[in-house]
Symmetry: C2
Subunit: 334 residues, 2 copies
Amino acid sequence: MTETISPPVSDAVTIDDIRAAAGRLEGVARVTPLLESPFLNALAGRRVLVKPECLQRTGSFKFRGGWSAISALPKDTGGVIAYSSGNHAQGVAHAAEIAGIPAVIIMPADAPALKLANTRAHGAEVVTYDRVGGESREALGQKIAAERGLTLVRPYDEPLVMAGQGTCGLEIARQAREAGVEKADVLVCCGGGGLTAGIAVALEAEAPGLRPRPVEPEGFDDMTRSLETGQRERNPAESGSICDAILTPQPGELTFPIIQRLCGPGIAVSETEALHAMAQAFLRLKVVAEPGGAVALAAALFRPEAVEGDAVICTISGGNVDPAMFTRALETGP
Amino acid sequence: MTETISPPVSDAVTIDDIRAAAGRLEGVARVTPLLESPFLNALAGRRVLVKPECLQRTGSFKFRGGWSAISALPKDTGGVIAYSSGNHAQGVAHAAEIAGIPAVIIMPADAPALKLANTRAHGAEVVTYDRVGGESREALGQKIAAERGLTLVRPYDEPLVMAGQGTCGLEIARQAREAGVEKADVLVCCGGGGLTAGIAVALEAEAPGLRPRPVEPEGFDDMTRSLETGQRERNPAESGSICDAILTPQPGELTFPIIQRLCGPGIAVSETEALHAMAQAFLRLKVVAEPGGAVALAAALFRPEAVEGDAVICTISGGNVDPAMFTRALETGP
């Protein structure tokens, strides 16, 4: 058990930031339920509690961070810009749509068609870049932001965004308590680490018996390896996984210190395990998970030896998946 | 038995029954959220609020009625028996499993494989009968109940079951108010009418501006026709629709008078519209609907001229669908 006096001043986001974000999100973001199935419990050999953020507005937890950031901007803002593989894009685009401000979103050209279409449908201007060619989305984002006077909303290394994602952790703390679970690993689908860090800070304050742990796809397990070596490791590639939602070059500069301080070891799962978990979420929970959003459930179900305790909690971080990929998951079978 | 009181008092289920059931269900059944998507709103031309009972325990609203009935039985009960196309089966089987009492479930031999398997997995003994051959499940149920001393839990013509389903209406009343909707049609997927009648009684008391209306598959629109003629009409067939969950021979004896008193006209949709609605629920809400569970959403989206007002509320009554049928819905496209 970690002894906590007060969070180190170096943390980019505090529990107070998260509580303030929760106030701004109330009545705008959705409180997602905590689901459980006796069939999944039997499969995993322990209770499995699932936080389906696919049911959040725009189909992923990213709306929390997008609205948290945009709702904190000055009223006379000229608009926002964001770069994203698709879920942050939709979260920011829809939050800007609700706030009535312009949004420019920089997306990889190979992002799923559904994510590109939805982002445009939320009224955002979409600019695509070549992920495989190694173009820097960060540089492109900063250039357009400067040219047009837009505020950049970073996908994870942004305290207001991390605070928004942390509201998911406040809900997990309360809902796990209601479900009678005080001690468990909390498996979080992890890309840059915004959701993981936000949940970690929330749980530290409100449910210290719940231990957050990042889960990633094999081959893109930069956070898991970074936790092992103690420094921010890079992935060998930036694309080439069906788990498009959680592919980032390396852990965030602001998220990593928090994750390092508060999280247990990471877990990496295979693409096939992610597809199996999507099929289980369909069959047993009746929710739609995308591959990247299913990695934590995959770890809960198929890596029971990697988890401790009588219960495990896991996020389904998003459900923005094209029908063809979903059909592939169903054909892969549970 | 002389009955000379006015119709409202003779109703088989009252708001007090529903509130009592809500007390028994608290902490056992799930409070499902009320979902909304700007894309569905645009498609329907009005706000569409969706109550996804597919997220209920056992994947359909039927758990509410099953637990409502079983939790009201005397402690020394010898067990329960039920007949069901599959969702009531799972709801009663799981409720009996939680209560620790035996359950025998009579199911049509042509019920979806998933529903048969799940019912058995909840520890129930499954007895199949031939739906096409015209065997009476009611007669079979009463025979086994008498032989083994089991309490029959009817799927809809049972006041305790109707009261349980009515708790869904209490949630709709509160959640619609929170969403700023005071006046709207509430479209309910309708088989025997237990959910429709239960919701109707709940809304009458708690949200009188919300008007319940049954929705059925074309060719199996016994409730819609019964509302037109003022008497309980029969369907020409008892099987042969993909909407297996909501095929019943005719409206319930107890449910029909309530529905007649409180509901607006019924709506019948095609199988293709139900499949399209399943694809929309996948794409826009990230939930899994079965064909019978998607008919109300289909009416909300594809029969806008049949609905009145600036907003419409609809149930997704269940999500217990085999992967092959779900893939067919995705291939049919949104």
